[in-house]
């Protein structure tokens, strides 16, 4: 049973913040269906009582001491900034103005 990825493409692209044109979406839907059909074969395996492997290393985390080190210079921090204003990174409008609801 193949997955119809066509329906999912818009939702997933939005979640991943990827603008895709119509052509890309169409091609993507087909290719992703194929890939996921293959990937889905892992569902044949019985994995009840199998612990997932998130890390191949079976060791606890090593902890760092709470000491400070010099940070980067401001120039270095901002040297790659696509949009800069004074000593900040600048981004366009985040939230739109919403008309206030009538309170009754």
């Amino acid at each position: 049973m193949a997955i119809d990825f066509g329906k999912e493409v818009d939702y997933v692209a939005q979640l991943a913040r990827l603008t895709l044109d119509q052509e890309e979406k169409k091609r993507m839907a087909g290719q992703l269906s194929d890939i996921l059909d293959t990937a889905r074969r892992i569902q044949e395996l019985d994995t009840t009582a199998v612990e997932p492997t998130a890390h191949v290393i079976n060791l606890p985390a090593v902890l760092r001491e709470d000491v400070t080190r010099p940070s980067l210079s401001l120039n270095r921090v901002l040297q790659n900034a696509p949009r800069r204003q004074k000593d900040f990174f600048r981004v366009p409008r985040i939230a739109n103005k919403i008309p206030e609801q009538a309170e009754d």
Binding site: I57, P60, A61, L63, D66, S71, A95, I98
Partner: protein, 479 residues
């Protein structure tokens, strides 16, 4: 139908470490923008996180004082979402294996105690700070990002939907702040953003145990605004329900100016955080011993202190409460009490004149030397100075840190008494005010008070009014 309000709080507070959670940048507040940043906290390609031991110890401390069950094994996950203050487009947080589970905080409302249940306590990283071009995020044409804050260790405390009104939420937060201040885990400064609170609020028919549709309220910047916002929101929802409407599940923004909540536009699907285990960090395994050590080293907590202050120093409830809420004032009192045994008098001075002059001068109690303070009370008790002089000296002591004993010696501020010292002043005042003297002689008692005042003024406040009164009367009747 009657409705009851159901509130759950989500509190984020910054832990008091020197360096950030995953890198060695300083956590100092108020630095020039983007100067406490490195490849790790900027999320530069290729950088990797490494745990700060102190952050974990402080988180365990906080969990312990909140009666939460610290987990020997916990795990860090990535919470994926896009936002300009989030450098990696994911927050390293804890999802299904948090640092601590359950717990409660005991609060007192109108003399009744109640345990507010907690769901979890976990550790995560702070995001950067946005500065909007306009007054608020809504309607601003652009925003500026400062990543100094990004990566500071953040403790998230999630309560059960266990709170019933805005006031209770405020009391919970006040007690929470107090207990966490005591634990040393956080400085809990809401005005600097090191303590923040979001709330989920819904209504349900009284007696029902099903939760209604909730709204999430954000942007409450003080304990008072939490109370106001939640009360506003409860009323708003009630009005909708009473009118037969339905509540929309949404995020609402508290407008501090207008004192109302407004909806924040939400992107559909934006709450699918796609949590998965952080591959760059191995699981956090806490040694049983570490938890025991932290547990043994816990400081005295507010409730215990309040009781002890009553017991040990005979303070009344309001004094004990003040010296608990204002921890440093309480510490000052206790240190002074070690060398001064009239606790009632000490408490009276600390909460009265000391606090008054501290406020006047803008100084903090940490800047006052308890030893000098006791000297001052001792001078007063010994009758070396009188109350007005003591107050002046206290003020000067706070401002300049000069010892009261030295001030008394230098300025000759010791008390003036006895005929030898007072008679010359009295005679002068009688000479200068024949009218008042005449009035007194004719039986107008008020005139004597005027004359006493003149003498006191001449003495620079160092004479005792009773003694002056007596000497004056004697002199006038004799002379």
């Amino acid at each position: 139908m009657k409705y009851e309000v159901v509130i759950g709080l989500e509190i984020h507070l910054e832990l008091q470490t020197c360096s950030k959670l995953f890198c060695s940048c300083s956590t100092t507040f108020g630095k020039e923008p983007n100067t406490n940043c490195c490849p790790i906290c900027l999320g530069l390609p290729g950088s990797l996180p490494a745990f700060n031991r102190r952050a974990i110890e402080l988180a365990v401390t906080a969990a312990l004082v909140l009666n939460s069950n610290v987990q020997l094994k916990s795990r860090f996950d990535r919470k994926n979402y896009f936002y300009p203050d989030l450098p990696k487009a994911y927050q390293i947080s804890q999802y299904d294996q948090p640092l601590a589970k359950g717990g409660y905080l005991r609060i007192e409302t109108d003399g009744n105690y109640r345990n507010i249940k907690l769901e979890r306590v976990h550790l995560e990283e702070e995001a950067g700070k946005l500065i909007h071009s306009g007054e608020s995020i809504i309607g601003s044409d652009y925003s500026l990002v400062d990543y100094n804050r990004a990566g500071i260790p953040l403790l998230e405390i999630v309560t059960a939907p266990d709170i019933t009104c805005g006031r209770e939420a405020r009391l919970f937060l006040e007690d929470l702040r107090s207990i966490l201040l005591y634990s040393g885990a956080s400085d809990c400064r809401m005005e600097e953003g090191s303590l923040r609170c979001d709330a989920n609020i819904s209504l349900r028919p009284s007696g029902s145990d099903k939760l209604g549709t909730k709204a999430e309220v954000k942007n409450m910047n003080s304990f008072r605004s939490v109370e106001l916002a939640l009360n506003f929101e409860a009323r708003r929802q009630a009005e909708i329900l009473v009118a037969g409407g339905t509540i929309t599940q949404e995020t609402r923004h508290w407008d501090e100016e207008k004192k109302l909540t407004i909806p924040l536009r939400s992107k559909e699907g934006s709450s699918d955080y796609r949590y998965f285990p952080e591959p760059d960090l191995l699981p956090l395994i806490l040694e049983d011993n570490l938890i025991k050590e932290i547990s043994a080293a816990l400081p005295e907590l507010p409730a215990a202190r309040r009781e002890r202050l009553k017991e040990q120093f005979g303070l009344d409830s309001s004094e004990a409460a003040l010296f608990t809420v204002n921890r440093s004032l309480g510490d000052f009192f206790e240190e002074a009490a070690g060398k001064y045994s009239d606790y009632k008098n000490l408490a009276k001075w600390v909460q009265g004149d000391l606090l008054y002059y501290l406020r006047e001068s803008g100084k903090t109690v940490e800047e006052v030397d308890p030893q000098q303070f006791i000297e001052l009370l001792a001078l007063l008790d010994a009758g070396e100075i009188n109350r007005p002089v003591a107050k002046d000296l206290l003020n000067e002591m706070i401002l300049k840190g000069t010892s009261p004993q030295i001030m008394v010696q230098k300025k000759g501020l010791g008390r003036i008494s006895g005929d030898e010292q007072l008679l010359p002043l009295v005679e002068k005042v009688i000479d200068e005010n024949p009218g008042a003297v005449e009035n007194y002689r004719q039986g107008k008692d008020k005139a004597i008070a005027f004359l006493v005042g003149r003498v006191l003024a001449r003495s620079g406040g160092r004479a005792d009014p009773g003694e002056v009164n007596q000497i004056l009367k004697e002199k006038i009747s004799r002379g």
